[in-house]
């Protein structure tokens, strides 16, 4: 039976004690974020909600829900005491990426006239299975691979090609996370030529 840790919602949970690094990461990704926001939100004419954009809002909200959960999952991993540097640094970096994805998705949903989902007050993670650093890495890798598949399945159903392009951009980031986590586990980083 699963015993689950209950992660309290702290709006968007972030790993504590890493402000210097986060500041650096924030600066290094500022240009990308700005470009992405422009890419996602640049068409004001799309602000009017119609059937197509309502569908896009649903797709983006599903992605947002998963991103918010990923932020919380990395928080659990970082606070588990099982991650040692430099792996801990990876978790911090990847959590920051997911937070950026979530922020961008939420802003885009609002621009489209929708209401972004919020982080849950509590998430259930099967922490009884996380005994070692490798367990945490495998759990994170599983989520990242799932995220790649989710975005792969979202890209073709987004009505807006701009949104599809932005979703593909996030997909690429998630795929890199997955590969790096596999590499940290001593596994083949990129085991196949195609993702599904």
């Amino acid at each position: 039976m699963h015993t689950r840790i209950q992660v309290r919602n702290t709006s968007l949970p972030t790993i504590q004690g890493v402000e210097t690094r986060r500041s650096f990461l924030g600066k290094s990704t500022l240009l990308l974020s700005g470009a992405a926001i422009f890419l996602l939100a640049g068409r004001e004419a799309r602000a009017k909600v119609n059937d197509a954009s309502a569908s896009d809002v649903r797709v983006l909200n599903s992605a947002l829900g998963a991103e918010l959960e990923a932020v919380a999952a990395y928080q659990v991993g970082a606070e588990s005491g099982l991650l040692q540097k430099p792996v801990l640094n990876l978790a911090v970096t990847f959590q920051g990426h997911h937070k950026e994805h979530a922020d961008l998705l939420a802003k885009t949903i609002v621009k489209l006239g929708g209401k972004p989902v919020s982080a849950k007050e509590k998430y259930g993670f099967p922490v009884e299975t996380l005994k070692t650093q490798a367990d945490v890495l495998r759990f994170a890798a599983m989520l990242e691979k799932g995220a790649v598949s989710a975005y792969l399945g979202a890209v073709p159903v987004l009505d807006s090609r701009d949104l599809a392009q932005a979703a593909a951009s996030i997909l690429g980031d998630e795929a890199m996370h997955w590969a790096v986590l596999r590499n940290a586990l001593g596994e083949e980083p990129v085991p196949s030529a195609f993702m599904s």
Binding site: H2, S62, V148, G153, A154
Partner: protein, 135 residues
């Protein structure tokens, strides 16, 4: 040689365009082991034993759609009046957004019939696992 799903999808589209393929109505026999690999695609949003962005999958076969306690379904899924079985799952997984317009499952679907059959076989088998029996 087993082709990647994407390759199969391309080939399937090409053959269908050429008039060489007709729609099958019968679900192929599924391989749970192969289905577990397909299930990895679901793990950004779903888990067997607990609700996430999507509802849990333990007990899915035989369950009325939109009925997991504590999960907030879309209005569209709440209105669906069917029980999840191999046939309804196959139809939904092929194209969730077309099958249930308004679903929050913003996903293109599992286009390969054999992969869908494998996935359903895995979910069915997992429903009898210790992980699911304890929930």
């Amino acid at each position: 040689m087993k082709l990647p799903g994407l390759t199969q999808a391309f080939l399937g589209l090409a053959l269908a365009a050429a008039g060489g393929v007709t729609a099958e109505t019968r679900l192929p026999v599924g391989d749970p082991q192969a289905g577990e690999a397909v299930y990895a695609r679901c793990l950004a949003c779903h888990a067997l034993a607990y609700n996430r962005t999507g509802p849990k999958h333990c007990g899915l076969l035989g369950r009325r759609a939109g009925s997991v306690p504590g999960f907030e379904y879309s209005d569209a899924m709440k209105r669906v009046n069917w029980v999840w079985d191999r046939k309804t799952l196959d139809r939904f997984l092929a194209d969730p957004m077309k099958t249930v317009p308004g679903t929050t499952m913003g996903y293109a679907g599992v286009k390969d019939r054999q992969e869908r059959a494998d996935l359903i076989a895995y979910i069915e088998q997992a429903g009898n696992s210790a992980e699911c029996r304890n929930h």
